[in-house]
């Protein structure tokens, strides 16, 4: 006789029956785009405070910019809110004529006042993205003078100090701070004098092709089509972005057709799907580089011969062939691949014997002890492991200190490190200055200068000659002379052995389900979903 009362058996049977009811065939709705991605870096949607590539993609669909980079040819700038633009002869004033009849999602007309106010707001709030504009000499105090509406349809941007107008245009086409906000709607939600900052963290007030319906941090972001969009309504009715941090879950879901787009998958999972005919891969080149950074605050790395030795102790080819597929492609220059001014790779290879000779010359024939700080995630940790092994071949005993991005870059900002395996570089601007300013330029090497946004300062690499050349190249009006100047900078940087040694150009791989059509990922992360549809 059983000791189980029949009730238990019935409950168990019921659970098992419900558990095995097959689900409907997994397909996403035909009029919705379902995106799976990690949202852990999505902290604020406010264009003045938003950092990271993910938020740029979200905001590119909620807001508009004056102009955009062409997806197929990023060097080409196309009109968006600005119908046309003009650069003054002295190259200090850019005048934009706005497209007539554009309205925000609220119904308010979009005017030059909104454009000027949106950019002034970034400087007045002085949040994460203000540094983009401060680099041109704009400040909270001069913003209203230099960023102004001439009339309802004309916006004028006057440069406070000489720069290259092409660089400024690129910033306007790519920076997440360059989205145009509905001033009236934002000010209706202003608290004290925050210019709507608290409200815009989780809301949007734009003119983009999609309206933000809901954003629950680390959960889901919902957008629906804006039928009054000036460029015509989007083909899909709704976009759902779901926070998914686990790569294998993303893989299973896109394989089953429960996702249309999967982003942020690990290299092994991407490789596993490469021959799946239901899924396509799109590789997008980003403006940032994977690098090995040496702190010249440490006497050992202040010696040029030691930096040369470290440069010869990196297995560039091995790392790029085994670790970097789906993460990056080899690049040994500070400029992004594809820029006209970029010189071909110098051809550095792992050369332990040469490195030993340089170390001996520098007085370290037996090597030395040091540390490598690195993010505890691929590909950073794999690069660090490779570096640790090759440094050991020349007697350098490096211990690896892992941490979060916050800890690794925090230490770098404080100039408190020996070696860092990291990632960084210019923005998405297709201009050499953007990368050189971030990775090489360092106008004041004193600790108290605290130029922590310059990675040159963080590594304490200080070359007055290179600073001068970078400043001169930025304002050089003749295109061919400017090109030559940027090439000269790369040669001199090579000779002076920079403290940041580039290894690889960052790439992102996006997985797209087979029936999704006209999804074109943008290298500037401003991927727009307006023309995406499904072929079924």
């Amino acid at each position: 006789m059983s000791i189980f009362p029949s009730l238990w058996a019935r409950v168990l049977a019921a659970i098992m029956v419900v558990g095995v009811v097959p689900g409907a065939d997994a397909r996403t709705p035909v009029d919705q785009l379902i995106v799976g991605m990690s949202m852990v870096n999505l902290l604020s949607l406010d264009p003045a405070a938003a950092t990271g590539l993910d938020v740029a993609e979200v905001n590119a669909n909620l807001y508009d910019m004056l102009l955009v980079q062409d997806v197929a040819e990023p060097d080409r700038l196309l009109p968006a809110l600005a119908e046309r633009w003009q650069v003054s002869d002295d190259r200090t004033t850019l005048t934009f004529t706005l497209r007539p009849g554009v309205r925000f999602q609220s119904g308010n007309p979009l005017t030059a006042d909104d454009v000027a106010w949106s950019l002034q707001r970034v400087l007045k709030l002085n949040l994460a993205l203000a540094s983009t504009w401060k680099a041109y000499g704009f400040t909270a105090a001069n913003a209203e003078r230099y960023l102004r509406a001439q009339d309802a349809n004309t916006f004028v941007l006057q440069l406070p100090r000489p720069s290259d107008p092409l660089l400024v245009l690129n910033t306007l086409a790519t920076s997440p701070s360059a989205f145009v906000l509905d001033r009236k709607t934002v000010l209706e939600h202003q608290k004290n004098t925050d210019l709507g900052a608290a409200w815009l963290t989780t809301h949007a007030a734009g003119s983009g092709a999609f309206v933000l319906n809901d954003w629950r941090a680390n959960d889901v972001l919902l957008m629906s089509r804006f039928d009054g969009y000036w460029g015509g309504p989007a083909k899909l009715k709704r976009v759902v972005m779901r926070n998914m941090t686990e790569s294998q879950s993303l893989r299973l879901m896109i394989e089953r057709g429960d996702l249309d787009i999967a982003k942020g998958m690990s290299a092994p999972d991407i490789s596993a799907l490469q021959h799946n005919d239901k899924v396509r891969t799109q590789t997008l080149q980003r403006g940032t580089l994977y690098y090995v950074a040496l702190s010249m605050k440490q006497p050992v790395f202040a010696d040029e011969r030691v930096r040369k030795a470290i440069r010869a102790l990196i297995d560039y080819q091995g790392i790029n062939q085994t670790v970097m597929p789906h993460y990056g492609v080899i690049n040994q220059r500070p400029l992004p691949l594809g820029l006209a001014a970029r010189l071909p790779d110098p051809g550095y290879r792992l050369d332990v014997e040469q490195a030993r000779r340089w170390l001996a010359e520098a007085g370290y024939p037996q090597g030395f002890k040091t540390t490598i700080r690195v993010l505890a995630e691929p590909p950073f940790i794999n690069i660090a492991a490779s570096l640790q092994a090759t440094l050991a071949q020349a007697g350098i005993e490096a211990s690896i200190i892992t941490g979060t991005g916050n800890q690794v870059y925090g230490a770098m900002r404080e100039r408190n490190f020996d070696i860092i395996v990291g990632r960084g570089g210019g923005g998405a601007e297709r201009h050499p200055h953007s990368s050189l300013r971030t990775l090489v330029y360092n106008p004041d090497n004193r600790d108290e200068a605290r130029l922590s946004n310059f990675q040159g300062w963080r590594t304490a690499f200080f070359s007055p000659e290179l600073n001068r050349l970078i400043e001169q190249a930025e304002v050089e009006p003749d295109a061919s002379k400017q090109l030559a100047a940027y090439q000269q900078i790369q040669v001199r940087l090579d000779q002076q052995v920079g403290a940041i040694v580039p290894i690889s150009q960052m790439t992102d791989t996006v997985l797209v389900y087979a029936d999704v059509t006209d999804f074109h990922g943008h290298s500037a992360a401003t991927t727009r979903y307006k023309d995406v549809y499904k072929t079924r």
Binding site: M1, L12, V18, V21, S131, A217, R242, M244, N406, G410
Partner: protein
């Protein structure tokens, strides 16, 4: 009689006051410990807000706005003061008040944990009873293997394998998330519990989708509770089954089922209450790994993400909620003791 009632009331009041003060001191200690540990962690909440490339003036502005320039005790005092006024502060991660966030993420965990503990109880109790009443025989060995599996299998691995087999291969289970993505945002949010909200909305397709999504993670999460509850049940039952009153009952001619369930099992109910309450409490803290594998937007994920950002407002709010959960479960267990054990009345 009147004097006795007054004294009983006085004793009860003093007992309640003692209990309330214990709870308050516990929660304060918990908050203090969390706050100071949070502040010594090598995480910079300012960098989380401004990003790694912000310039120094922006960094300083946010640093001051967050009050991080003040001494630690002042910061803690200000936090407590806000707390007393019902202000838990805003979360860095979401920009929302922490309480609103917790109200949003907690139902997801509550729904999952409740189903998991139901599974744990429905399987674990009979398994434990079966093991005890078949000590050393096949039933006991089978129960041991099941509990060993529940204890020793990494939940992350089990989650991945579960998804692969029941979602990708067989198509029985829903994938990651609480519901098919196409339904996201379409079901009116009444309780935050999707099974209930979809029922209230009468949207049975959405209900079926939510059910398919929750069953697998709940079963996997419940497996650990099955192991814990069944082992404890077995041990309590063995103790009871060796008592003389059990032999007497058998001699009197009662069936084995009546002896096991009607006598021995009833006597372990009070002990089991504590076991189940503790297991439920740990599930309500949030199961970070299972929430990660199944992209479950619950309390565990919220707490972990906040911790990684150094977002102390959110972390402290969560710690307080966890503390309150355990206090509430203790109080409920105490109340239920009186129902099941007349001696404690």
């Amino acid at each position: 009689m009147v004097v006795m009632t007054a004294s009983a009331l006085g004793a009860r009041a003093s007992g309640t006051a003692r209990r309330a003060s214990t709870v308050l001191v516990t929660l304060l200690g918990l908050l203090m410990l969390t706050f100071f540990i949070g502040r010594v962690m090598p995480l910079d909440p300012v960098l989380a807000v401004v990003g790694p490339d912000a310039d120094h003036s922006t960094y300083q502005q946010v640093y001051l706005a967050m009050g991080l320039d003040k001494p630690l005790w002042t910061q803690f005092g200000l936090y407590l003061n806000d707390l007393l006024h019902g202000n838990f502060g805003n979360a860095l991660l979401t920009g929302h008040p922490v309480l609103d966030d917790i109200r949003r993420v907690f139902p997801a965990t509550l729904e999952l944990a409740t189903l998991a503990i139901l599974f744990g109880v429905l399987i674990g109790l009979p398994l434990g009873v079966c093991a005890a009443s078949n000590q050393g025989r096949l039933g006991d060995h089978v129960a041991r293997v099941i509990t060993l599996f529940g204890y020793s299998t990494p939940i992350f691995w089990l989650g991945m394998i579960g998804l692969l087999v029941f979602y990708a291969w067989l198509g029985w289970a829903g994938g990651a998330g609480r519901i098919d993505l196409g339904y996201d945002g379409l079901v009116p949010d009444v309780t935050g519990l999707l099974l209930i909200d979809t029922s209230l909305a009468g949207d049975w397709e959405a209900f079926a989708s939510a059910l398919r999504h929750i069953l697998l993670p709940a079963l996997i999460l419940g497996l650990n509770s099955v192991a814990y509850i069944s082992r404890m049940t077995r041990s309590f039952m063995l103790e009871q089954l060796s008592q003389e009153y059990i032999i007497t009952a058998r001699v009197k001619g009662l069936s084995r089922r009546q002896v096991v369930w009607g006598h021995a099992f009833r006597n372990i109910l009070v002990q089991l209450l504590t076991v189940v309450a503790l297991a439920y409490g740990s599930l309500l803290e949030g199961a970070v790994l299972i929430e990660t594998v199944f992209a479950w937007p619950g309390f565990g994920q919220y707490l972990t993400s906040s911790l990684m950002l150094g977002d102390m407002n959110a972390v402290m709010g969560c710690v307080l909620v966890i503390g309150l959960i355990f206090v509430a479960l203790n109080l409920i267990s105490d109340a239920l003791y009186k129902v099941f054990d007349p001696r404690t009345r």
